[in-house]
């Protein structure tokens, strides 16, 4: 057996020797070489071709990351294992991103080194167990976002056929003239082929691109692609056929629950297409299928207005698309092939006939043919087909008359008549389908049992279609799906109508609809055929059968699309469809619209709200409405009824109902009872599916958070993350990051908060919209509080962009957020302005949201400071306090009381102020809430300092005050690093050496000198002298300050990594 060849790379000779000794003792390993820096590593790797390279990261000359990149690129069979003292996420990301397949911490040598080498030789990835869990899991989180293809309820087969360029048959006449035209215009962003059906447009483009040296991808469009979401999904799928990793971000946006605005999507798509490093054609066939008003037209228009460098669109259409062609022509941006170009010339006609029928017509016949058929390709093909069984061809031509249409008709009948009766029947029946495969043909065309010829089936049918070249166009290379040439299909359909009664034809459509539904291809085709069959009922039934399973996958927009395809009268008459509609309102948070629909349902079901089939769902929705109208008692009642009657599994609303149950229970001060029930459900693993599990954990987190018990809230998050990650539940992951971020923020741990909230904000399109807004708001305040004004502004911009995507209920929250930010920045003018312009918002249930316009309003009133403003503020705050006390919402009470204390203090009501503050502190202490005080700035600090001893827990007050101090130090530190984030260490008086950087990092982990020395394999004395230099470079006096400053520098450079990295 061959020994594993290992190359050791580390700038520390002693360490190399040690590893060499260790590995040399193994039977199956041989050390083929050593290197002391990155460049040497590359040279030696090239020469020695090792199986495994053990690579240190920080080295002189070229560092390990770059060396890894080189080696992985040049020597694909060499596996690189990173070896480092650093467990920081940044390094893991960089090394794994550069192509390393393993990551090992030096402290884990020797045991894990052997393990690692064997693992990577097996083809596995190896990650040291000592590497912190969050680091690896964060990396894997980013990598494991493998989306399933099936987000559109279409089979992957059909997906394939849409991306397949028309296969080229052998009877194609080369059209050199046209290919020259196409070649001449290939550099332009758009090539347009516009002509009616039957001109061989697709074949022309397909054969041109086949011989072209640029790569190309194909997308055949149909009417459903007018939906922007679907179009983007297919578009990116097509482009990824050539470059598998491109446009991932756009794809994730296109698949998110809340579709971002058109401008966001266009920007993302444009940017990502700029990454193309060589020209590429993207063909959009049958572009006329896109409805004129579709946003897809806007997308393409804008893409063409500022085309990415290497993107070349080819649009094939039967009509001129509405893409501002006049402008494009004026700017020389479009190359066109029009009907006239596509007509067969006499020469080409002759060539076609010679090829297909091996016949060379006389000049006279040719002229006549040209006159009659006008070079229309499909006409010529029909001619050639008809010609197969005619003896005197020349005469045949001379006798053609009546113009193209008549000729076409005549030829069609000629061809049809020559087919067997069976073939004819199958041709006509299959014409109702836009695309067909063997099983589908069997389902529709097969004669009823008991009638004649049974030995004719789909296989024979398809075989005959192909051999007779009967206008059946293959849609994929496997020969599974076909469609008819459009004109042929039309003619067939017309003939079908002559031969079969409308009832019989409707029967065919019904069969088709059934087949599609049975194959799981619900939605488009199944309902389409049902509707054509005049069968609104059936179409409605299809939706009824399937909407719940789609809703439980969080794909409410699919259900919305289905409902829009049905006529309103059908929906109004069927309670289940109304229920589907209600669930859409529910998802869109349209509480106003819900009650009416719910009443309708109850009425249709016989007026007895207790007894009917859908009671539970209706009750659930009613419960939700009640909750948000502040009626906790009724909400709890409704939801308990709903949960009681329904079994645990099989109720798609169960998860949501359980969340409502938890929240309503908390509101009504029944949290012990409610939580114990929730935990019982959580422990019943038999009936627990992942989505439900995450929801149960989520509601437990909510309850504790609202109760101001942060520690308890936190405990459920790791499990939630695990489940969510394992099952790709983006929404749940977004919640985890958001809530954990909030928890850190409340504790005053700004860096941790920022880190998590940034992650959450990258998932904002998957997130529950209100929470996404909340994430951005919390992020804005976190940045501002840690002195990073620029970042705060940038995030504010993102917030504006996000809500511009349509949902105006959040516009008021965003405006309030901006006003509060201005206040924090000392620009009270802007804040007062907001106050004037905005009326008092309605106060609803406040839950755990960090920013509520009503509280912001009070804060601004307080800053105004007039007697009236303060009075108003006090009134409002007392009202909110009372409400939240009734709701048992402790976390909001803390914020309200803190603010109230300041208002009272400003009014000179010192005693009242102090007692309010004391109450706030009492509520805040168990959970360690610091943010509500911190955010109110120095005046609050003052207030705290003046609090008499007996009013509060001194230790806690000290904790809060020290948070004020740290915030100040942080702000100063950030001022240093804010100039050039990421190059912070270079901004210091002198740049840090590699060694000093290593030590600095370990310092932030609160290690003692001895521990640091052990990690770095140097003596504690050396550490001490390094530290001396470090302190002077950082401008600090002691270890603690050094640690703080170091942390700030490192986190600001991490921030850059987060900013510039795309997916997370």
């Amino acid at each position: 057996m061959n020994k594993i060849k290992v190359l050791l790379v580390d700038d520390h000779a002693v360490l190399r020797k040690g590893m060499a000794l260790l590995l040399g003792a193994e039977d199956d390993i041989v050390i083929v070489g050593e290197a002391g820096d990155g460049e040497e590593a590359i040279l030696k790797a090239r020469a020695l071709q090792p199986d495994v390279v053990v690579m240190d990261i920080t080295m002189p000359q070229l560092n390990g990351i770059e060396a890894t990149r080189e080696i992985v690129a040049e020597l694909p069979n060499s596996k690189v294992i990173a070896l480092s003292i650093h467990s920081a996420r940044r390094f893991v990301d960089d090394m794994l991103g550069a192509g390393a397949v393993g990551y090992l911490l030096k402290e884990s040598v020797p045991e894990e080194l052997l393990q690692g080498i064997h693992a990577v030789m097996r083809g596995d990835m190896f990650l040291s167990s000592a590497t912190t869990d969050t680091v690896i899991s964060a990396y894997l989180e980013g990598k494991s976002n493998e989306y399933s293809e099936d987000s559109l309820a279409t089979g992957s087969e059909i997906l394939r056929t849409k991306l397949q360029s028309p296969p080229l048959t052998s009877d194609i006449v080369p059209r050199t003239r046209l290919v020259e035209l196409l070649e001449a215009g290939r550099n332009r962003p758009l090539t347009l082929v516009s002509a009616p059906a039957g001109y061989g447009k697709s074949i022309l483009i397909s054969s041109w691109l086949e011989g072209c040296d640029w790569p190309s991808v194909w997308l055949s469009l149909d009417a459903d692609d007018s939906d922007l979401r679907q179009f983007l999904n297919y578009f990116v799928a097509a482009v990824q056929g050539e470059y598998s990793a491109i446009c991932e971000h756009t794809l994730s946006l296109a698949r998110s629950q809340n579709l971002p605005s058109l401008s966001t999507l266009i920007a993302s798509l444009s940017n990502e297409l700029e990454e193309l490093d060589q020209p590429m054609f993207v063909v959009l066939d049958d572009y006329h299928s896109i409805e004129v008003n579709s946003p897809v037209n806007d997308l393409i228009r804008q893409l063409l207005a500022r085309p990415p460098l290497h993107l070349h669109l080819v649009i094939i259409s039967r009509r001129d698309p509405s893409l501002s062609l006049v402008n494009l022509r004026a700017q020389g941006q479009v190359s066109e092939i029009r009907t006239q170009d596509l007509c067969f010339t006499t020469t080409e006609t002759r060539a076609l006939l010679e090829k297909i029928v091996v016949f060379s017509p006389s000049e006279e016949a040719l002229v006549k043919l040209q006159e009659e058929v006008e070079g229309w390709v499909v006409g010529l093909r029909l001619v050639s087909m008809a010609m197969r069984s005619i003896d005197d061809l020349d005469n045949f031509f001379k006798n053609l008359h009546g113009g193209v249409q008549q000729t076409l008709e005549y030829l069609f009948y000629e061809v049809l008549a020559r087919q067997s009766a069976q073939m004819q029947e199958w041709l006509l029946k299959s014409a109702i389908l836009d695309s067909f495969c063997r099983p589908l043909c069997d389902a529709i065309c097969a004669a009823e049992l008991g009638t004649e010829a049974v030995n004719f089936n789909a296989d024979r049918f398809i075989a005959e279609l192909s051999s007779n070249n009967l206008f059946a166009i293959p849609l994929d290379t496997q020969g599974e799906w076909f469609r008819y040439h459009h004109l042929f299909q039309q003619l067939l359909r017309q003939e079908l109508q002559r031969r079969m009664t409308p009832v019989e034809i409707a029967g065919l459509h019904s069969r088709a609809s059934e087949w599609f539904e049975s194959e799981g291809l619900i939605g488009k085709k199944a309902t389409y055929h049902a509707l054509i069959a005049g069968n609104n009922e059936r179409a409605g039934q299809i939706v009824e059968r399937n909407w719940r399973s789609i809703m439980s996958q969080d794909k409410w927009y699919v259900v919305e699309m289905w409902l829009s395809q049905l006529s309103d009268s059908v929906v109004q008459a069927r309670p289940q469809l109304l229920l589907a509609r209600a669930s859409i309102y529910y998802h869109q948070l349209d509480y106003a619209a819900l009650p009416t629909v719910l009443d309708q349902i109850d009425e249709l079901m016989g007026g007895d709200a207790e007894a009917h089939e859908f009671t539970d769902e209706v009750k659930m929705f009613r419960g939700f409405c009640a909750f948000f109208e502040n009626d906790g008692a009724r909400a709890l009642e409704y939801v308990e009824q709903a949960l009681e009657k329904h079994p645990v599994t099989g109720f798609w609303l169960r998860g949501d109902a359980e969340v409502l149950f938890g929240l309503a229970g908390q509101m009504e001060d029944q949290k012990q009872r409610v939580m114990s029930i929730l935990i019982t459900w959580l422990n019943d693993s038999a009936s627990l599916d992942p989505l439900r599990e995450t929801r149960l954990l989520l509601v437990l987190t909510y309850i504790h958070y609202i109760d101001a018990d942060l520690a308890s809230a936190e405990q459920y998050i790791p499990r939630q993350r695990e489940v969510a990650r394992a099952h790709g539940l983006e929404n749940a992951l977004a919640w985890c990051d958001y809530l954990e971020g909030l928890i850190h923020l409340q504790r005053g741990e700004l860096d941790a908060a920022i880190r998590l909230l940034e992650k959450a904000s990258q998932r904002k399109h998957f997130h529950y919209a209100r929470a996404a807004v909340g994430t951005l708001a919390a992020l804005i305040f976190s940045y501002q509080m840690s002195g990073q004004s620029e970042q705060a502004e940038a995030t504010l911009k993102s917030l504006d962009q996000f809500i511009a995507a349509g949902d105006s209920p959040f516009a008021s929250i965003a405006a309030a957020c901006r006003a509060r930010l201005r206040l924090m920045q000392g620009q009270s003018g802007a804040a007062f302005h907001w106050l004037k312009l905005n009326p008092l918002p309605p106060v609803g249930v406040m839950l755990f949201w960090l920013e509520t316009p009503c509280l912001t309003r009070c804060e601004i009133l307080m800053m105004e400071g007039t007697v009236n403003s303060l009075k108003k503020a006090e009134e409002h705050l007392q009202e909110y306090l009372a409400m939240n006390q009734a709701h048992h919402n402790a976390c909001q009470q803390i914020s309200i009381l803190a603010l109230l204390a300041m208002v009272l203090a400003k009014q000179g009501k010192t005693t009242a102020a102090r007692s309010a503050l004391a109450e706030a502190l009492m509520l805040a202490r168990p959970g360690g809430f610091i943010f509500p005080f911190l955010v109110l700035g120095q005046p609050m600090a003052e207030l705290l300092r003046q609090l008499p001893r007996q009013n509060a827990d001194i230790a806690f007050v000290k904790q809060v005050l020290s948070a004020f101090g740290e915030a100040k130090l942080k702000a100063e530190t950030v001022a240093i690093t804010s100039a050039k984030p990421g190059q912070a260490s270079q901004l210091l008086i002198e740049p840090l050496t590699n060694r000093e950087f290593d030590i600095m990092e370990l310092l932030t982990q609160r290690l003692q000198n001895k521990e640091i020395a052990a990690r770095l394999f140097i003596s504690p004395e050396t550490i001490k002298s390094h530290l001396k230099h470090l302190y002077s470079k950082l401008g600090v006096n002691n270890r603690r300050e050094a640690a703080l400053k170091a942390a700030a520098i490192i986190s600001s450079s991490k921030l850059t990594t987060i900013d510039t990295a795309d997916a997370d």
């Binding site: 059906a197 113009g403 249409q405």
Partner: protein
């Protein structure tokens, strides 16, 4: 002056270059098809009749396009059944 709304019926006359067999009228929403015999050089065809709404009209125009018949004119004849032109009959 008669105003035609988008979704109500109306009577239209369409003129195209080329010949269309009159038995094809069922494909064109039951419009009547006739070609004036004005000598062999100028082959035009008229379609005239009631159209349910603009959607139907545009469907008819599209069919004519797909059948390769250049459009010469489209004329609105009012909401009432017009008296057929003696000339073109």
């Amino acid at each position: 002056m008669v105003t035609q709304y988008f979704s109500v019926p109306g009577f239209y006359r369409i003129e195209v270059q080329g010949r269309l067999p009159s038995i094809w009228s069922d494909r064109f929403g039951d419009m009547q098809i006739f070609s004036p015999s004005l000598g062999l050089c100028n082959k035009v065809t008229f379609l005239q009749g009631k159209v349910i709404d603009q959607a139907e009209l545009t469907g008819i125009l599209n069919n004519l396009y797909e059948l390769h018949l250049p459009l010469l004119s489209v004329q609105y004849l009012g909401g009432e059944q017009p008296i057929l032109d003696a000339e073109v009959n």
